[in-house]
C-alpha cells in the first residue's frame, strides 16, 4: 500500500506517529537532563497537534479539551517543574555517561519491531492508521521503560514515566477516537497528582540522600542482609 494514495488525515497521523516514536528514541540517547526534558516537551507538542488534528477530522469536540489538557500538563507544567528541579539541584551541566549506548539504542529498535510482532493479530481488524498508531504507542511505552532502566537520575525516571503516559494517550486518541470524557479527565487528574507528588518526592530524596541518583537508594533488599 502506497502512502501517497492515502488521504491527508491518514498521512498526517502516520507522520505524527513516526515523530512521536522518534522523540522516544531521542530521549533514550540523551545524557543531559535539560535536553531530555526539552525533547519530552516536544513529544507533548506533537501529541497536542495530533489531538487537534483528530478533533478536527473526526468532529469530536471533546478531543479539543484533551488537546488543551495535554498542552497544559505535558508541555507547560511538568517540563517546567522538572527543569526547576534540575537547576535547583545544580545538575544541569552534568552529562550522565550512559553505559552501552549502542546496545540501548539497538534494544530500543528491537522493542519497536517486537511491538509490531505483538500486535500482529490485530492487523486484519483495523486500518493502517490504527495499527501503526497502536504499535507506536506500545513501543513508546516500552521505550519509556527502557529509558528508566538505562538512566540513573530520578528526573530521567520521571520523564520515562510521563512518556509512558504519552504513549498511552496517543493510543487512546488515534486508535479509538479518545476514551469517554470522564475517563480522560480522570487520567489527566491522576497524571497531575502524580506530577505534584514527584515534585514532593524530589525534595524528600534530596534531603535524605543529598542526590537525585537512584542508585544511592539501595538499603532495602529482597533477602535481608
Amino acid at each position: 500500500m502506497n502512502i501517497e494514495t492515502q488521504d491527508f488525515y491518514t498521512q498526517a497521523i502516520l507522520s505524527m506517529s513516526a515523530l512521536v516514536g522518534l522523540m522516544s528514541f531521542l530521549m533514550l540517547g540523551q545524557g543531559r537532563l535539560p535536553r531530555l526534558i526539552f525533547v519530552f516537551a516536544m513529544q507533548g507538542i506533537l501529541l497536542t497537534l495530533t489531538a487537534i488534528l483528530a478533533a478536527n477530522e473526526l468532529h469530536s469536540p471533546h478531543l479539543y479539551i484533551s488537546a488543551f489538557l495535554t498542552f497544559a500538563l505535558k508541555v507547560v507544567f511538568i517540563p517546567s517543574m522538572l527543569q526547576k528541579q534540575v537547576f535547583a539541584m545544580n545538575v544541569h551541566r552534568d552529562v550522565e555517561a550512559l553505559k552501552n549506548n549502542t546496545a540501548v539504542m539497538l534494544s530500543g529498535a528491537s522493542l519497536m519491531i517486537f511491538s509490531y510482532y505483538v500486535l500482529q493479530p490485530i492487523i486484519h481488524t483495523s486500518s493502517m492508521i490504527m495499527l501503526n498508531a497502536l504499535v507506536v504507542s506500545l513501543s513508546v511505552v516500552l521505550l519509556g521503560l527502557l529509558l528508566m532502566i538505562s538512566h540513573r537520575q530520578a528526573v530521567a525516571h520521571v520523564v520515562g514515566f510521563m512518556s509512558i503516559e504519552n504513549g498511552l494517550f496517543f493510543a487512546a486518541m488515534v486508535a479509538t477516537d479518545g476514551m469517554p470524557m470522564v475517563v480522560e479527565l480522570g487520567v489527566a487528574f491522576d497524571v497531575l497528582v502524580a506530577a505534584v507528588l514527584f515534585g514532593i518526592f524530589f525534595f524528600h530524596i534530596r534531603t535524605s540522600i543529598d542526590s537525585l541518583d537512584v542508585d544511592m537508594m539501595n538499603k532495602l533488599h529482597e533477602v535481608e542482609r
Binding site: 505483538v118 525516571h157 470522564v182 480522570g186 535524605s208 532495602l220
Partner: protein, 486 residues
C-alpha cells in the same frame, strides 16, 4: 443506590475535612466515626442487593452485584476496625516524636483518600474509571509509605510509586485495547461499561482481547503483588505506618485481584477458551511458591507477613485461574478470610513493634510474658494464616486443594509443598518471638485488641460454619464468575 453516593461523598468529605481544618485532639476518633458510618452504608447497600438483586444506577455509572457487594462490605469493615486500631497507635507515634501534627493530618486525609479509591474501584461499572481509581489508590498511599521520612521509607515509597505507576500503565494500555475492541460494536459512549461488555462479550474480537488481558494481568498484577512484579510490596508494607500495612494487605491487594477477575470474565466470554485462566494459574502458582520460600529469609516482622500476603494472593489468583465453581467459591472465601486474618495480624504486629521498639524479629522476644493478649493474638493469627483448622483459611485452602485434585491433579503436590514450606517459614520466626525469654525492662503498652479478636473470631466462625446468607452470596458470585453453580 443512594447508599453508594453517600458512601463516596462521605469519603470525599473526610479527605477535605482532615486536609483543610486545623488539628483536632480527637482526629483519630473522628476518622473512626466516618468509617463506622461508611460501614453502616455498605450494610444498607448489601441488604438492598440481598433483597432486590443486582443494582445498576440510572446513569449506568455504578454496578453492584453479588460479586462486588460483599467485597464492599469487607472493605468498609476492615477500614473501620483498622481505624479503631490506628487512633491510639498514631497517638502513640506522636508521643514518641516520630510524627508531627501536620503529618498526622496528612495521614488521616489520605486514609480517607485510600478508602474512596477502594470504594470507587469496587462500585464503578466503567473499566476506565476502575483504572483511574486504582491509580488513585497508589497516589493516596505513596505519601503514607514515606510518612516517617527515614531514608528507607523514602526509598520504599519511591520504589512503590515507580513500580506501581509503570505497572498500572500497562493496565491502561490493556483497557485501551479493550475499548478499541468494544468500540467496533458501535455505541462508543457505553463501550467501557462492564455491564454492556459482559452482555456482548461473545461478539468482541478474541485476538484483541487476548492481547489486552496480558497487559491487564501484568498491570493489575503488579498491584496484586504477583511474582516477579512484587518488589515494591514488602518494602511498602514494612516502611509505612502499621495501620497502612493492614489496609494495603487486607484491601488493596484484594481489589486489584477483583479488577483482574472482572476483566477475565470479559475475556473468557470473548475467547471461549481458557487462555486467561492458564495465565492466572501460572502467575499465581509461581508467586505462591516463591513467596513461601522467601518467608524463610526474612528478618523484619512486617516483611515476613508481606511475603505471606504475596503467597496468599498467589493462591487466590491460581484459584480464580482454575475457574470451576468449586475453585471460584474457594477463592472468594479465601479473599474474605485472608483479609480478616492478615489485617488482624498486622494490628498485633504493630503492637508488638511498639512494645519492643523494633521490627527486627531477632530482638522481639517474650511477647506472651510481657503482654499475653498481644502474644496470643500473634500466635493465633499465625496459626490461622498458616491454614490450620478450624479457621476459615483452612476451609478455603481445603476446597482449593479439592478443586485442584479434580481439575489438575498433577499440580496438587506443588500446593501441598508450598503450604508446608510457608508453615515452616512462619513458625520458625514466630515461635521464639512469642515464647522466648522476656528482655529486661520490656513493659506492656495501652493496646486496643478488640479489632484483632473480632477479626479472628469471624475467621473462626467462617471456618466452622459459613452463615447461610454469606454462602448464598458466595454461590451467586460463583455462578456469575464461573458460569456454573456449585
Amino acid at each position: 443506590m443512594i447508599a453508594v453516593y453517600l458512601l463516596l461523598f462521605l469519603s470525599v468529605a473526610g479527605i477535605a475535612f482532615f486536609a483543610l481544618t486545623g488539628h483536632h485532639k480527637d482526629i483519630g476518633k473522628l476518622n473512626t466515626y466516618i468509617n463506622a458510618v461508611s460501614l453502616a452504608m455498605t450494610i444498607w447497600l448489601a441488604t438492598t442487593v440481598f433483597q432486590h438483586g443486582t443494582i445498576l444506577s440510572e446513569s449506568k455509572a455504578f454496578l453492584i452485584d453479588s460479586f462486588n457487594v460483599y467485597l464492599i462490605v469487607l472493605t468498609a469493615f476492615v477500614g473501620f476496625t483498622t481505624s479503631l486500631f490506628s487512633a491510639p497507635y498514631m497517638a502513640h507515634e506522636i508521643e514518641l516524636g516520630k510524627l508531627t501534627e501536620g503529618r498526622l493530618k496528612l495521614y488521616y486525609s489520605m486514609y480517607q483518600g485510600f478508602m474512596l479509591a477502594m470504594y470507587l474501584v469496587l462500585t464503578t461499572n466503567n473499566m476506565g474509571i476502575m483504572w483511574v481509581a486504582m491509580e488513585g489508590a497508589t497516589l493516596a498511599t505513596v505519601l503514607l509509605v514515606s510518612l516517617y521520612r527515614t531514608p528507607e521509607s523514602i526509598e520504599a515509597a519511591w520504589k512503590y510509586f515507580i513500580l506501581c505507576g509503570v505497572g498500572i500503565a500497562q493496565a491502561l494500555f490493556g483497557t485501551i485495547l479493550l475499548y478499541y475492541a468494544a468500540e467496533k460494536l458501535g455505541n462508543p459512549e457505553n463501550a467501557l461499561l462492564w455491564s454492556v461488555l459482559h452482555e456482548e462479550a461473545a461478539q468482541l474480537n478474541p485476538d484483541i482481547l487476548e492481547i489486552s488481558f496480558v497487559f491487564l494481568l501484568i498491570g493489575y498484577g503488579t498491584k496484586i503483588g504477583l511474582v516477579p512484579l512484587h518488589n515494591w510490596l514488602p518494602d511498602a508494607h514494612s516502611e509505612g505506618p502499621t495501620p497502612m500495612s493492614a489496609v494495603l494487605s487486607g484491601l488493596l491487594l484484594n481489589d486489584a485481584l477483583y479488577a483482574v477477575v472482572r476483566n477475565k470474565m470479559l475475556v473468557d466470554g470473548a475467547t471461549q477458551s481458557h487462555i486467561a485462566g492458564y495465565l492466572m494459574m501460572g502467575f499465581g502458582l509461581v508467586s505462591f511458591l516463591v513467596a513461601a520460600l522467601f518467608l524463610h529469609r526474612q528478618k523484619d516482622i512486617k516483611r515476613l507477613f508481606s511475603y505471606s500476603s504475596i503467597e496468599h494472593m498467589g493462591l487466590m489468583t491460581f484459584a480464580f485461574g482454575i475457574g470451576g465453581s468449586l475453585a471460584t467459591f474457594a477463592a472468594l472465601l479465601h479473599m474474605t478470610v485472608h483479609s480478616l486474618v492478615k489485617s488482624a495480624i498486622f494490628v498485633t504486629v504493630g503492637h508488638a513493634a511498639q512494645i519492643t521498639g523494633t521490627q527486627k524479629m531477632a530482638q522481639i522476644r517474650g511477647l506472651i510474658r510481657t503482654q499475653p493478649k498481644v502474644g496470643w493474638g500473634l500466635l493465633i493469627g499465625t496459626v490461622a494464616i498458616a491454614g490450620f483448622p478450624p479457621f476459615g483459611v483452612f476451609t478455603s485452602e481445603f476446597l482449593l486443594l479439592l478443586a485442584t485434585m479434580r481439575e489438575y491433579p498433577w499440580l496438587t503436590p506443588f500446593l501441598l509443598l508450598g503450604i508446608g514450606i510457608a508453615f515452616a517459614g512462619l513458625f520458625r520466626h514466630i515461635q521464639p518471638m512469642v515464647y522466648g525469654e522476656k528482655p529486661e525492662g520490656q513493659l506492656p503498652i495501652k493496646a486496643n485488641l478488640i479489632p484483632v479478636m473480632v477479626h479472628l473470631g469471624l475467621a473462626l466462625w467462617l471456618g466452622l460454619a459459613i452463615p447461610h446468607f454469606l454462602s448464598d452470596w458466595f454461590s451467586q458470585a460463583t455462578l456469575l464468575i464461573s458460569g456454573s453453580a456449585l
